[in-house]
């Protein structure tokens, strides 16, 4: 099945593009996509380890199962600014 990846901030800088389509096995999880991206872009290692995951604009856990056409985004730490 096809999923839609979008990249922001440090991810976009490292990957060198803002989005791409990825073919993954039916029933693949967010963790599977994470592993695939690390093979394709080894330089993501440090930032992806600190990142949360989002599917279709909401935060999801690592083991969330993906579906055809899902939009997947890894969210590096946000914020900055001391309270």
């Amino acid at each position: 099945m096809k999923i839609h990846l979008r990249y922001f901030a440090s991810f976009r800088d490292i990957v060198g593009q803002s989005e791409e389509m990825l073919i993954v096995d039916d029933g693949a999880s967010v963790a599977d996509v994470r592993a695939l991206l690390l093979v394709r872009y080894p330089r993501l290692q440090p930032v992806i380890e600190r990142s949360a995951s989002a599917v279709n604009h909401g935060y999801v856990p690592q083991d969330a199962t993906l579906h055809e056409g899902d939009e997947v985004v890894f969210i590096p730490p946000v914020g900055g600014g001391t309270p």
Binding site: A54, H57, V73, I75, P76, V78, G80
Partner: protein, 137 residues
């Protein structure tokens, strides 16, 4: 009222945001304004670049405001975040909360900015004299 939410590349208009929440029944208005500082962790900052995941940022801000409305029974909230290049001294974020009495306005405003900083997918890159980097957390 429906919350007023704005993510924009244009300079933020504090007066317009205050006007959006002002109401004869609201006796207290709290404004938080986050402004670009000229230094960070010992570095001299030249300017900032903000990046956003727009659809998710809007969704997260809506959820944060809904939670604040539930907890403090507030009804008049405006949140604006600027993205793109910001110079020193410019406002990056403005939160305005109007309530009948001041205590709820202070608490709700504090909750919204603190939660926004941890949940909303907006990132800033510091461009300093000696290089640039995405700021984390």
């Amino acid at each position: 009222m429906e919350p007023f939410i704005q993510i924009t590349r244009e300079p933020l208009d504090r007066n317009a945001l205050v006007a959006a929440v002002t109401d004869p029944g609201a006796g207290g208005i709290v404004v938080f304004e986050g402004v670009v500082r000229d230094n960070a962790r010992g570095k001299q900052v030249r300017y900032l670049e903000y990046d956003v995941y727009p659809e998710m940022a809007m969704q997260q801000i809506r959820e944060i405001i809904a939670e604040a409305e539930k907890r403090w029974n507030v009804d008049r909230v405006a949140v604006a975040h600027r993205i793109g290049r910001l110079e020193i001294g410019e406002a990056s974020v403005i939160i305005v909360v109007a309530t009948p009495h001041r205590a709820e306005a202070f608490e709700a405003c504090r909750y919204i900015i603190d939660t926004l900083k941890t949940k909303v997918p907006i990132w800033k890159k510091e461009i300093a004299m000696n290089g640039e980097e995405w700021v984390e957390g």
